[in-house]
């Protein structure tokens, strides 16, 4: 009845929800059989999953691990599971897995890439998980110089003099910034190490090496291959593309016309060109432009190209995060007296990167999988190797087993990255706790 006056005499206490609001039966009804149409879809999907597993699982299990060729595989499977059975020939993986992982890297030196991989994981750990002791960051700063030395070998003084370049860059930053402003400082910090690496590092290494010889067996880039190659290219490109992408994104937003134009030009050019073109440039064209006699390592060239490619995409992903930040955040930082770089580092970037995590990780995953493109310019990554193995008369005709193995290894890495990004998003969520 409308309009009847009402006054509550006492307030209602809080009560627990009814017991029917939980339990497995309720879950089944709500998620699988909420209506007759959804029930049919559920049954159809279950049928499809059953169909796929019923064919795939026997193939995976009824397999041969010991044969030395595809024909021998088929004979073994027919002998043990009856003629006409189709089964997987995992023997090819058993025979070739070392090649698929290490390429032609000398087998007595396998410990070096394994140690390098372990060191890399240890160096990434304190960056990925802030709960770990901060002292581990010292390891993180030495590993970038140590790992290439472990992989390629040679004089210990080369990584030392390359690390010296980074120290010089830092010194330039600290010296120039108070004299000529922070932009000049950043430029000097970029320029000084590059000049050192181009002209100073080589002679310095030679000098130190002749004074105190410290070297391990060197391994040529030709011997690199398999997953070791993919992981090397992938990890370097991923870790370098993030900071370069941040700088490009900031440059694109800059008020300085030339900086802005250069950044926009770079990003649009790289994004407008397929990666495979850049790889061909790296493998073929660069030789024409470099002075004759310079040996510019092919893997290094490829890494640079993949990094630049990833950085251009990264810049756009981060620009999206920057655009999502309200203007008030910039103003509040400025009103407190924070200068541009401090505001970026403490206020803007932590929030922009957090917003961009899904996009950043997608780019990382994309870059890691794109490393397989190097097989087209003749580097023997896992795909390049799989072609070589399939061309072998013993294994001619094998497809699923090889590609399945390669796919499984790539999946492990990509799935780990994806899970980590979800962990990070949950950890950084400060809105509804």
């Amino acid at each position: 009845m409308p309009g009847q006056p009402f006054v509550r005499s006492h307030m209602l206490p809080e009560r627990a929800p009814p017991a029917t609001a939980a339990g497995p039966l309720l879950w089944l009804r709500e998620n699988l059989f909420s209506s007759w149409f959804n029930a049919i879809l559920t049954l159809l999907s279950l049928g499809f999953v059953w169909y796929v597993l019923a064919h795939a699982l026997p193939w995976i299990v009824q397999s041969s691990w010991t044969a030395n060729s595809l024909t021998e595989c088929r004979q073994q499977i027919a002998a043990s599971h009856g003629p006409g059975t189709s089964g997987a020939c995992w023997a090819v993986i058993r025979e070739r897995y070392l090649q698929l992982i290490f390429g032609f890297y000398p087998s007595r030196l396998y410990w070096r890439p394994i140690l390098a991989f372990g060191l890399t994981l240890a160096a990434l750990a304190p960056i990925l998980f802030p709960a770990l002791p901060r002292r581990l960051l010292w390891l993180s700063s030495t590993v970038p110089f140590l790992v290439p030395w472990l992989l390629w070998g040679g004089s210990l003084w080369l990584p030392v003099s390359i690390a010296l370049g980074a120290v010089l860059g830092y010194a330039a930053l600290r010296l120039v910034t108070p004299l000529a402003g922070s932009l000049a400082g950043v430029i000097a910090a970029g320029l000084v190490p590059v000049l050192w690496w181009l002209f100073g590092a080589g002679p310095a290494t030679g000098l130190l090496q002749s004074a105190l010889p410290l070297a391990i067996d060197s391994v040529q880039s030709r011997a690199f291959g398999g997953f070791m190659l993919s992981i090397t290219i992938g990890i370097v490109a991923i870790t370098c593309s993030l900071p370069i992408g941040i700088l490009l994104a900031l440059g694109r937003q800059s008020d300085l016309f030339i900086v802005k134009t250069l950044c926009v030009g770079f990003i649009e050019f790289i994004r407008g060109v397929p990666l495979i073109t850049l790889l061909f440039v790296a493998s073929l064209l660069l030789n024409y432009f470099l002075p004759p006699g310079t040996s510019f390592d092919i893997i290094l060239r490829v890494i640079i190209m993949v990094t630049l490619f990833a950085a251009a995409y990264m810049a756009e992903v981060i620009r999206g995060g920057l655009a999502a930040l309200p203007r008030g955040q910039y103003e509040a930082a400025a009103a407190l007296g924070l200068d541009y770089w401090k505001a970026q580092r403490l206020i803007i970037m932590p929030q922009a990167l957090k917003i961009s995590i899904p996009g950043i990780v997608s780019t990382f995953i994309g870059v890691f999988k794109d490393t397989t493109l190097v097989s087209i310019i003749g580097l023997l990554d896992p795909l390049g190797f799989s072609n070589a193995i399939r061309a072998d008369t013993a294994w001619n005709g094998i497809v699923w087993e090889l590609y399945g193995f390669i796919a499984a290894l790539f999946f492990v890495f990509c799935f780990a990255m994806s899970r980590y990004s979800m962990y990070l998003e949950r950890k950084l969520a400060t809105e509804h706790r």
Binding site: A332, G337, D339
Partner: protein, 263 residues
């Protein structure tokens, strides 16, 4: 609008206006493109003054106080804050900004940092105060705005009124000599306006120099020693609050007051 009838008594013992000049604006003009936002602004603010700036929306009142800490750039005339002239010299700008606290309409707390980190960030990174001392100062001011128990929460977990009080504490942690308020209560629910105004009154009682853009005429009556009315980018009228509300001179002021006071 807060009701002046429930206002508490204000302790005026430390609210003296001194001869020392805090801000001097002379012949200042500003354009957005070809739109003339601020026209020939002359304004001298003495240390200890509480000035309320009011006016219809689009009158340039927010732009005026945002020029004082250079969130907006003026194109002609001069602004001298605490003896430092605002020019394009970045060092001067950062110096002025660290002496002038600002409170925004939408609080603008940093959502990725806790309340305590919001308050200690600028003292640590701009003033180079040791962390422990910065934390002590922050807790001192969080107690002043009566939310020390929220120190470890994130801004998203606080109500609007609490967030705005944190924003005031954050500005105070830099020990500013001047405080600017840009419509500090406009984005708040009515029941939260009072807690923020009380915090501002307590600040005025300590003798802080304040410039407040607001529509809270109750606050202007109680706390301000001067009310400035702006329209179309210029100062139309300024007077002591009793005279401003009791006997407005300009027709524009009369019209504005009749609209905002609703009778």
């Amino acid at each position: 609008m807060s009701d002046p009838s429930n206002a508490r008594d204000i302790d005026r013992s430390r609210m003296a206006v001194r001869d020392e000049v805090a801000i001097r604006i002379a012949g200042m003009n500003k354009w957005y493109g070809s739109f003339h936002v601020l026209r020939d602004i002359d304004l001298t603010v003495h240390v200890g003054e509480r000035i309320v700036v009011c006016g219809p929306s689009g009158s340039g009142k927010s732009t005026l106080i945002r020029c004082i800490n250079r969130l907006e750039e003026h194109q002609s005339g001069s602004i001298v804050v605490d003896g430092i002239e605002l020019s394009s010299d970045l060092k001067n700008i950062d110096k002025v900004r660290s002496e002038v606290g600002m409170v925004f309409q939408h609080f603008n707390l940093f959502p990725h940092l806790t309340i305590l980190e919001n308050c200690t960030l600028a003292p640590i990174w701009v003033r180079k105060v040791p962390r422990r001392e910065a934390v002590e100062t922050a807790m001192h001011f969080l107690e002043k705005v009566r939310i020390p128990e929220q120190a470890l929460k994130y801004p998203g977990q606080l109500s609007g009124g609490q967030q705005q009080r944190v924003a005031i504490a954050r500005a105070l942690c830099m020990r500013p000599r001047i405080m600017l308020f840009d419509e500090p209560t406009s984005a708040l629910d009515p029941e939260m306006i009072k807690e923020v105004l009380d915090t501002m009154i307590a600040l005025a009682e300590e003798g802080m120099t304040m410039l407040v853009v607001t529509h809270e005429m109750g606050f202007a009556r109680q706390v301000a020693n001067r009310v400035i009315f702006m329209d179309q980018g210029q100062i139309v009228e300024q007077n002591a609050p009793e005279a401003f509300f009791g006997n407005p001179q300009s027709d524009r002021t009369k019209l504005f007051l009749s609209q905002i006071l609703g009778n």
